[in-house]
């Protein structure tokens, strides 16, 4: 790093009187500090740093064993609060049969992953996939390492493998009672190749899994030592404050660098643009505050392009206008729904709308990058270090093997930190800085206004009810509003589109997320039509916890509630009847089990005070391209004051666990997170577009849930299926909005058909 020492000393002077008045450069904190906390936390405060030493033995790319039996497990997924470091380590340790108290974790080397032919399988952390996709190969890695350690002991003793047992990292030769520890045989095991891979455990054989496990990284997050991307400090590092085109897809027309060049600490002004990089300007300085104040003082003129007058209301009008257009794409057609709807005595019809939503990660967007002739280094908290590396290489113009990405802790992800726009932008800036590292930090406002938003959406549902109040025919029409590139990217990420709709045509490639949650209804409806339109806007969209589903889940479960009320039935009983009546659905029994569990726990149907109501919703988060699902039912208990102020008192969740949960403690926290996030979105959040740009900016106009608004939460795990569930990271959030809005209806008789709730007058008598 000596190449960076040319930095002007004035830029980093800090004198520490208590330390004898000596000079200290603004360096990263000493390694010993990170290690000390790591002893407690079992992972470095800088998770990309290896905790292993030269005397430790790498048994496999996943497993390193020290002479004192400490086991270091390498983690390919990104920790953003979901407990994934602990869960991944558990899945591997379940097979390794080591002593859990001696397990440490560290992130895999992303660079090695590329150099060694994707040795860590997959490094993205999206789509609730860490357990669903990771479990088989992590278990296999643990089993394989265990068998090699056992083989090494067998060799040492010249004993057959069958005479050996292992527990907590101690191998015993049963006939003689001799023992060897993992630390003693690791060296030999590292050289052993297995003739065949061992079988892995089935869920009924799990011991470590299923039990709640304390989170390995929690201690780092109570003393300030967890290093998030924004905390990275490097010798000679510069800071950049950025402004990207306020109107998406605009350009920089001009800026007056001369106005700020001579300000204290300013290093340079650089422009950035490129493929999938929102064009903009950065001021680079010796501190973030110097950079930011200079940027604020610098006049910039923008070329707004062709979207400078686009707005949300226009997008909604465009969507509503196509509700009646005939040429749409058909997903499902069963029977003759049009004829039944035309002749039915009772038709229920409703139009629903939801706005764009932002992720609102607590850690503002940032990325630190250093670009030299033969090496690109990146420090960032990323949900997708694999694609971030690919993008960094592309922007820098180097092969991927020359990119070294150091993944940090993520101050919230929710899908936002898997778009790589932070990395592309930082590399575009860094490559103009002659090899100096630069930390790019966005303001909260920039973070809010340059998101990849959950797409807005409009839908219309029409149902013909028979004399018994049950639907005879049903027409669902959805109008999606996505950015051009969104759908196609997601399909690629999910491994291609499977046209698995039950009857009728396949969705167009890229449209999968628009129809999720509305295909293959488990409710009995003999005549069905489900079709859609897709419209494009210039607003960037991306995966927001649950990706394409949460909008549709609000529509569907609100509509079912409307049908129940139109039929004069109880909303819980109505769903129960519709599920029971569907002889084609293999899910019905399990759905009923979960639905009944939440109804029972909440004493559904009991008398409530005036202005208080309960609402129910259920679904299973099923995918088009996969068989996995997670059945979840939610009851919200909501009170509404006469003035119309909404208070969500309780949220009760019943969820299918399948045969196991990897870490019930982490699972509980995922429920809490999704309730909090779902409530903020339901009650108050909307991103609106005016003059082509985002109106909202910070927590005052885009509020997240406050402590005083957090409801009590009841969690009920139900084993309703025998296959592993799809996941839990985003399988609860979709039912929050319909449960709350159905409860508001029960409390006030006012039906919420568009979100957020704050836009509705809910005052009563």
């Amino acid at each position: 790093m000596s190449m960076h020492r040319e930095i002007n000393r004035r830029e980093f002077i800090v004198t520490t009187a208590a330390m004898g008045g000596g000079l200290a450069l603004g360096l990263s904190f000493p390694k010993s500090d990170a290690r000390r906390t790591a002893d407690v936390a079992k992972i470095s405060g800088r998770p990309w740093e290896s905790l292993t030493s030269k005397t430790d033995i790498e048994v496999s790319p996943w497993v390193v064993i020290a002479p004192d039996d400490t086991v270091t497990i390498r983690i390919g997924q990104s920790e953003m609060g979901q407990g994934v470091i602990t869960s991944c380590a558990k899945m591997l340790a379940e097979e390794l049969e080591c002593d859990w108290s001696k397990v440490r974790a560290e992130y895999v080397s992303v660079n090695r992953h590329f150099r060694e032919n994707k040795v860590y399988k997959r490094l993205n952390t999206t789509s609730s996939s860490s357990v669903r996709l990771g479990r088989p190969y992590l278990q296999q890695a643990g089993a394989s390492a265990r068998e090699r350690l056992m083989a090494a002991a067998a060799q040492t003793w010249s004993a057959p493998r069958a005479e050996l047992t292992v527990k907590d990292g101690v191998i015993t030769h049963k006939p003689t009672g001799r023992t060897l520890r993992y630390g003693q045989v690791a060296q030999k095991a590292a050289a052993i190749k297995l003739a065949a891979e061992p079988a892995i455990k089935t869920p009924d054989q799990y011991t470590l899994m299923k039990k709640p496990t304390k989170l390995l990284d929690a201690p780092l997050k109570v003393d300030g030592s967890a290093t998030y991307g924004i905390d990275v400090r490097l010798p000679g590092m510069l800071y950049a404050a950025v402004k990207a085109s306020p109107v998406f897809k605009g350009k920089v027309k001009s800026y007056d660098a001369g106005a700020v060049k001579n300000r204290l600490g300013v290093h340079s002004v650089v422009e950035f643009s490129g493929e999938e990089i929102e064009a903009g300007v950065a001021v680079v300085a010796d501190s973030y505050w110097h950079a930011r104040t200079a940027l604020d003082a610098m006049p910039i003129e923008w070329d707004e392009g062709s979207h400078g007058s686009d707005n949300s209301e226009g997008f909604f009008q465009m969507s509503r206008a196509v509700l009646d257009e005939p040429s749409v794409k058909v997903v499902t057609k069963l029977g003759d729904p049009e004829a039944v709807l035309k002749n039915a005595p009772q038709v229920v019809e409703a139009v629903y709308e939801v706005p764009y939503l932002d992720h609102t990660v607590m850690e503002p967007f940032n990325c630190t990058a250093q670009v030299t002739a033969d090496r690109v280094e990146i420090w960032v908290g990323s949900q997708d270090p694999e694609n971030a590396t690919v993008d960094a290489a592309k922007v820098a113009g180097v092969p991927v093997e020359k990119v070294y990405l150091h993944n940090c802790f993520l101050g919230g992800g929710f899908g936002r930190r898997g778009n790589q726009d932070d990395v592309r932008q930082a590399v575009a800036i860094a490559k103009q800085l002659d090899g100096r590292p630069v930390k790019v930090i966005w303001t909260r406002e920039e973070t809010t206004r340059h998101g990849y938003y959950r797409p807005m959406r409009v839908s219309r549902f029409r149902a013909a009810l028979g004399p018994d109040g049950l639907p005879l025919a049903w027409h669902t029409r959805v109008v999606g509003m996505d950015e051009d590139v969104f759908g196609a990217k997601l399909v690629a990420a999910e491994g291609g589109l499977a046209s698995q709709t039950r009857n009728g045509g396949a969705p167009e490639p890229g449209d999968e997320q628009l129809i999720r949650g509305l295909h293959q209804l488990p409710y009995q409806v003999p005549n069905q039509l489900f079709d859609y339109h897709l419209r494009k806007t210039h607003v960037p969209t991306g995966p927001w916890t649950s990706v394409g589903r949460s909008q549709n889940e609000f529509f569907l479960e609100t509509f079912v509630d409307e049908l129940a009320h139109a039929a004069g039935k109880d909303p819980y009983q109505y769903r129960h009847t519709l599920l029971q009546a569907n002889p084609y659905s293999r899910f019905s029994k399990s759905w009923i089990q979960v639905l009944s569990a939440v109804a029972e726990k909440t004493d559904w149907g009991r008398q409530l005070p005036a202005g208080t109501g309960m609402g129910i919703a259920i679904g299973d988060s099923r995918r088009l391209s996969r068989k996995e699902f997670t059945i979840c039912a939610t009851v919200a208990t909501v009170s509404v004051s006469k003035k119309g102020e909404v208070r969500v008192e309780r949220v009760d969740v019943a969820m299918d666990t399948g045969p196991f949960l990897v870490n019930p403690l982490a699972a509980e926290r995922q429920v809490e997170m999704q309730v909090a996030m779902g409530l903020a979105a339901t009650l108050r959040q909307e991103i609106t577009i005016e003059k082509g740009r985002v109106v909202q900016s910070n927590f005052d106009d885009y509020p997240i849930l406050r402590a005083t608004e957090m409801p009590e939460i009841g969690i009920n795990w139900v084993r309703a299926t025998d296959d592993p569930i799809a996941g839990i990271g985003e399988e609860i959030i979709g039912w929050v909005a319909p449960a709350v809005c159905n409860a508001i209806f029960a409390a006030t008789g006012k039906r919420i058909r568009s979100l957020p709730v704050k836009n509705h007058d809910l005052s009563w008598i």
């Binding site: 004198t15 609060g81 780092l220 997050k221 003393d223 967890a226 909090a676």
Partner: protein, 152 residues
């Protein structure tokens, strides 16, 4: 040059007087446990103590705290043994963890002022935001911290 007392050490820092304390702590002194999130004193991620009272450092000019006792999460206790930190670990409070330094600093200030706070005290005094919704665990941890402190 201005002189700041942070975690019982005195630092002479070469910053303009109006620089927010947050950025002096993070960039100049190099203590990154205190977080930037909103920049407008809305969320509390940047909470530090000035003379034991919780303040939001992202809008506080450094010049206003010259000579005052400033404490950050790093200086809250030796070896992270403040009752709030113990309770936070016991209760596995943090999820993403980004807001938790600020939450703990706010909680520690509350506990020193009110050793046995009620739910209402917590609701009124701890207004820090958490996107992961750890609020219920924070409330439990504050009550637990009060117990730990009482026993000590």
């Amino acid at each position: 040059m201005i002189s700041l007392k942070v975690n019982r050490k005195t630092y002479s820092v070469d910053v303009e007087p109006e620089t927010p304390l947050l950025w002096v702590i993070r960039d100049t002194i190099g203590l990154t446990g205190t977080k930037f999130s909103c920049g407008k004193a809305l969320c509390g991620a940047c909470t530090v103590h000035v003379n034991g009272k919780p303040v939001r450092s992202c809008v506080l000019p450094a010049s206003q705290v010259v000579g005052e006792e400033i404490t950050t999460i790093e200086g809250l206790s030796p070896n992270a043994q403040h009752p709030a930190q113990i309770a936070w670990r016991e209760g596995d409070v943090p999820e993403c963890g980004y807001c938790q330094s600020g939450q703990i600093m706010a909680a520690a200030a509350l506990l020193s002022n009110k050793p046995n706070p009620t739910d209402a005290d917590i609701e009124r005094e701890i207004t820090n935001l958490c996107r992961c919704g750890t609020y219920l665990r924070i409330r439990q941890a504050i009550h637990r911290a009060a117990q730990i402190a009482a026993k000590a």
